[in-house]
């Protein structure tokens, strides 16, 4: 590897787009050592001797949050050959503050001046050339989302880069202290990669990570001298250093950015906000958006596509497979395994791909547009009541797609306790895999009010999550961190990136259908057709034995058949396997399953079964992720036991109520 380039920038500056453009598919995702913050690396596509390391999106190197600490520690310890700093041209002032910190460091920097189009639309004309001259490093104007400026950037990255000569003028007492510190470091023969001036300012700012780093490195004599200088420095260095940087940037902007938007100017993003965050309309609008998302998924788009796919699979595909196997002279049991086992199992799951893809598409749209940040603001007041903040709402919404990324997203939260509580309650967010069970059952049992029942299920999940958080508040007090939520201007999401993301999720789902569900289907088919006496009828098979063994647990809930028992066990592997299992145990094609279910469940039992599916023990992947993110077996096991108990109680109540109203 010729060089390592660190990609650094503020949140919302377009870092992800740039990383994706530069590395394409050649990226690896891991964790930073010791913490659960994601670490992405990738070879640059057309510069294959360069490794790009994606640092977390941060506002500064102040080492206040986990991400800032991490980035600072990385820059100090690993010292990359070059920093690629992405800067939002439409929000230059704050973005440049971080740039200045990087430039002062003395490592070669290249600046990608992103979102030139957004800046232009807001009436800000940034002079890239002049900025380049004043900062003393290459500045490449870009529109990363449209891959514009990529050629120039690549050309620049392939050349030998150089450190900036920028020197921010600090007030006299600070400059004096910096000079003294530089002298001490030089006399102590300290050879560190970053410039002595940067080291001195970090020391004067009392940067926690830097303090720890330098204490481990220097001998006590030198440290004592440095401590002395810091003590004697007049004024408040941490304020004056920051103030001087911002003052310098303000002057710079006067030169390079023509026509800055007046502070009171109302652009269209503000107009949307005045509606979306409106005193009375804000929350109803949010609920309406959610309702539209569910309608798209369950009524308008997802379900109708699913139905068509279903007809296709249970018709031509099933028939074709059967006649092909017969033509190939395959043994009868194998034909039945493939058609009744594998195709019934995998097919029952595949038909839900359109619904799941629709849901992911809608959620990514809301996320990319900038609306999710508004949701965090809208919901903060409510989340506070359960000891969390508005930010925690975002992982919970993602949970509607899949609980695994939801628990992963809790990494973005500041406080460890907030992360724990959010991870613990996210499995109650009804994921899209559970949706496959709802769709099957509501279609089979309820002619009217299908959407209402599904909506009630989702709502129950939310209520249980809220109550759980409320309960946990008294045991695990989440400390009050600073709630900072940036509201980036709205932007139209890129159709291409939305489709790519959705395709990715759908592919993951199909892959799971091809592996876990394929395997489970084969296993189930064998278990369902054999007993200790060899080939047997299904209700005398191993499967019936196992299912029958646990079935009594569910008798008070209205479904004590061995078939229901088996599907709940297999549902622990992955929730979508429940449907596949039912396809096999009731020996049904997708089209006949509904009718068979109506014989096996009463409507009240079906309703109770749905509530049980909603709440019971999350799937294996979620449990594994829970262990990984909470780092605690205690909490993981508690989550398993707790959700099972809650599911049992709620399903019991639902069943009894349904019997009353039946």
């Amino acid at each position: 590897m010729r060089q390592t380039i660190a990609l650094a920038g503020n949140p919302n500056a377009g870092k992800t787009s740039l990383f994706n453009i530069l590395t394409g598919t050649r990226q690896y995702v891991g964790n930073w050592p010791g913490v659960t913050v994601e670490k992405k690396e990738g070879r640059i596509r057309r510069l294959s001797d360069s490794l790009l390391v994606d640092l977390p999106g941060i506002y500064s190197l102040s080492a206040q949050s986990e991400e800032e600490k991490l980035a600072t520690a990385y820059l100090l310890r690993e010292t990359p050959d070059m920093i690629l700093n992405i800067v939002d041209a439409a929000n230059l002032e704050r973005n440049l503050y971080f740039s200045v910190q990087l430039l002062e460091m003395g490592i070669p920097v290249v600046i990608a001046l992103n979102m030139m189009d957004v800046a232009a639309s807001r009436g800000i004309a940034v002079d890239g050339r002049k900025l380049e001259a004043r900062l003393g490093v290459p500045v490449i104007p870009m529109i990363a989302r449209k891959a514009k400026g990529q050629e120039e950037l690549l050309k620049c990255l392939s050349h030998a880069a150089f450190p900036s000569s920028v020197k921010i003028p600090y007030p006299a007492p600070i400059e004096a202290a910096i000079a003294r510190l530089a002298g001490i470091l030089a006399a102590g023969d300290v050879r560190l990669a970053p410039s002595p001036r940067w080291l001195a300012t970090m020391w004067l700012e009392r940067n926690a990570v830097f303090d720890e780093y330098i204490r481990a490195l220097l001998d006590p004599g030198v440290l004592a001298q440095m401590e002395q200088v810091r003590m004697e420095c007049e004024g408040i260095p941490e304020f004056e250093i920051r103030n001087a940087r911002y003052a310098w940037i303000e002057r710079l902007l006067g030169e390079v950015a023509g026509h800055r938007t007046p502070a009171l100017g109302r652009n269209w993003s503000d107009r949307i906000d005045s509606l979306v965050l409106h005193r009375y309309l804000g929350i109803p609008l949010f609920l309406a958006f959610m309702f539209v998302v569910f309608q798209i998924t369950f009524s308008w788009v997802g379900t109708s596509l699913s139905d068509r796919l279903d007809v296709f699979i249970s018709g031509p595909v099933s028939g074709g497979l059967q006649s092909m196997l017969i033509a190939m002279n395959s043994p009868d049991w194998f034909t039945r395994l493939m058609v009744d086992g594998v195709l019934a199992g995998v097919g029952a799951v595949i038909v839900f791909v359109p619904q799941i893809a629709s849901l992911f598409l809608c959620l990514s749209f809301l996320e990319d547009s900038g609306y999710m940040a508004r949701v965090a603001i809208l919901m903060d007041r409510f989340m506070r009541a359960i000891g969390l903040n508005g930010r925690a709402f975002i992982p919970l919404i993602l949970g509607f797609g899949c609980n695994v990324p939801a628990i992963m997203a809790t990494r973005a939260l500041d406080s460890p306790k907030g992360r724990l509580v959010t991870a613990f309650i996210s499995p109650f967010m009804s994921c899209s895999a559970r949706l496959s069970v709802y769709s099957l059952f509501v279609a089979a049992f309820f002619a009217k009010g299908q959407a209402v029942i599904v909506f009630a299920l989702y709502l129950t999940g939310i209520v249980i999550a809220v109550l759980t958080a409320f309960l946990m508040k008294s045991f695990v007090r989440a400390e009050e961190g600073l709630f900072l939520m940036e509201l980036p201007p709205y932007r139209a999401p890129m159709v291409k990136s939305l489709l790519l993301l959705t395709w990715d999720k759908a592919k993951g789902f199909v892959r799971k259908a091809g592996t876990i569900i394929f395997g489970m289907s084969v296993l189930l088919w064998f278990l369902g057709h054999f007993s200790i006496h060899g080939m047997a009828a299904m209700n005398e098979s191993f499967l019936a034995l196992v299912g029958g063994w646990i079935a009594p647990v569910f008798a008070p809930l209205g479904f004590d058949t061995w078939q229901a028992g088996v599907s709940l066990i297999t549902g622990f592997m992955a929730k979508e396997v429940v449907v596949a299992t039912m396809g096999i145990v009731y020996v049904a094609g997708e089209s006949t399953l509904g009718a068979l279910l109506r014989q096996a469940f009463t409507p009240a039992a079906a309703l109770s079964f749905l509530f049980f599916i909603l709440l019971y023990t999350p799937c294996l992947s979620t449990v594994v992720m829970m262990k990984k993110e909470t780092g605690s077996w205690k909490w993981t096991l508690l989550s398993i036991v707790y959700s099972f108990a809650v599911a049992w109680i709620i399903a019991f109540i639902v069943y009894r109520l349904a019997l009353l109203f039946d």
Binding site: Y59, S60, S62, Q64, S65, N91, L92, E93, R94, Y97, E205, E238, F239, R242, N243, Y246, R260, T261, A263, L264, D270, D273, S274, L277, H278, R279, Y280, G282, I283, A376, I377, L378, D380, R381, R384, G390, E480, L482, F483, L484, M485, E486, L487, P488
Partner: protein, 75 residues
């Protein structure tokens, strides 16, 4: 005067950040320093958090945090 009590749509200047060291540093990194001009853009439906604009971008703050930010009105 405190930022938490300030009216929507009017400009003010920060005079003091009276909070913990760590939080003060964080706000200063974001460009919210004594002397910075700010404007309360809007309030969330229940009046909390508030959205504040400074240095050309918008950030949400809780009232409990904004009450530690002291300001003077800018004519």
């Amino acid at each position: 005067m405190r930022l938490s009590e300030y009216a929507v749509g009017k400009k003010a200047r920060i005079t003091r950040l009276s909070m913990t060291d760590a939080n003060r540093k964080r706000l200063m990194d974001l460009g919210l320093l004594p002397g910075t001009e700010v404007e309360v853009v809007r309030k969330a439906p229940l009046g909390d958090p508030i959205v504040v604009r400074f240095r050309g971008y918008q950030m949400g703050f809780r009232l409990s945090e904004a009450s530690h930010i002291e300001i003077v009105a800018v004519p």
